[in-house]
């Protein structure tokens, strides 16, 4: 079966989800409750996405002794520390990847 109808459907559906608020409230004020909550909700979503990934890595490390999970968690910890100090995504990435590489080498040598 051709994948194109499915891709078209997903594309249209995704655009609809993205633009529904714009179509409804593009030119008028959002309801006060929505406006109040959206400023807090969006960062909470990002925090939840990150936490979901950390929980999964922890589960892998504890349950199956997941390969690379420990190094990955250390990298996230180092990245968080750098993000607190610098508020920079670039430095966070650099420090996290360096920590991952360093711990992979150390654990590989052990």
């Amino acid at each position: 079966m051709s994948p194109w109808p499915l891709i078209a459907l997903l594309g249209v559906g995704t655009l609809a989800v993205r633009s529904v608020v714009v179509v409804l409230y593009g030119e008028r004020d959002l309801p006060a409750a929505v406006e109040r909550i959206s400023g807090v909700l969006a960062p909470a979503i990002i925090a939840a996405m990150l936490a979901g990934s950390v929980w999964s890595q922890l589960a892998l490390m504890v349950g199956a002794g997941g390969d690379g999970s420990f190094e990955r968690l250390v990298a996230i910890g180092v990245g968080a520390r750098v993000a607190v100090r610098t508020s920079s995504v670039g430095w966070t990435l650099g420090a996290g990847v360096a920590a991952f590489a360093l711990f992979s080498c150390i654990l590989g040598a052990v």
Partner: protein, 251 residues
């Protein structure tokens, strides 16, 4: 206001929204692009490794234009899931994009409806974060929109190229460091500066704790449910704290 007056961006804003705002948007997106590109490469590599038609697989990068739902689509197609199930899962994961749109739509007022829908199509996690950060230093809506276009188009072009690159070179680039790690680090870099405000910090902490039981829900839904609970609880608490503060002031 002071920041606006003295920053290089503010200098440009006095001449109205211009190319410099677009260029500043592109520059602001580059660190995020470096972080999400490996994930795009991994998606391209997954398309190459699966039996998916390469052009159709790559087309998800502009049709869906969001990493996790793209990966999810490929995996679900590979495992023989029905179109209805795939559609439902992708829409559930993309629910958060409507929340981002709700936060950004006040900046877009005054632009044409066509522009607003175009801007909404380009919403992703990094574009939302870059737009909010820029909004803290520049007040002029037209300048904010120009900056948004620059940052969002930079990410869009980079994402399509990364997916195409992954399709061409396979998994060789992502063998050294897991692409999921780059994504996690980008999320860390995005969320840490945001949680400095107490209500946001509370909402983030509650959402992060609640996402664990939320993992039993269908993909993506758990994250949204946990975040909604966190946001409502944090706002309720800060509302109560401010009303207690008012009462104490009165006494």
């Amino acid at each position: 206001m002071l920041l606006q007056r003295f920053s290089p961006r503010a200098e440009a804003s006095s001449t109205g929204p211009s190319r410099s705002h677009v260029v500043a948007g592109v520059r602001a997106m580059l660190p995020f692009l470096a972080g999400v590109s490996p994930f795009g490469v991994a998606i391209g590599a997954s398309v190459a490794a699966s039996g998916f038609d390469p052009l159709a697989g790559w087309s998800t990068s502009w049709a869906i234009y969001s990493g996790t739902p793209q990966m999810m689509t490929l995996q679900m197609v590979d495992s023989g899931a029905s179109s209805v199930a795939i559609f439902a899962a992708v829409m559930a994961v993309n629910l958060r994009l409507a929340v981002y749109a709700a936060a950004l739509v006040p900046d877009w007022r005054g632009a044409s409806r066509r522009w607003q829908i175009f801007a909404a199509y380009l919403i992703t996690d990094p574009t939302y974060v870059v737009a909010r950060r820029h909004a803290t230093i520049v007040a002029e809506p037209a300048a904010r929109r120009a900056h948004y276009v620059g940052s969002a188009l930079a990410l869009w072009c980079g994402w399509l190229l990364a997916c195409a690159g992954g399709l061409l070179v396979g998994g060789r680039l992502t063998d050294l460091v897991p692409p999921g790690l780059f994504l996690d680090l980008v999320l860390v870099g995005m969320v840490v500066p945001m949680v400095r405000r107490p209500p946001v910090r509370r909402a983030g902490a509650i959402a992060a704790a609640l996402v664990l039981p939320g993992l039993v829900l269908p993909a993506g839904v758990g994250v949204v449910v946990a975040a909604v609970c966190g946001a409502v609880a944090a706002l309720h608490r800060s509302g109560r704290a401010s009303s207690v503060g008012c009462r104490e002031e009165r006494t």
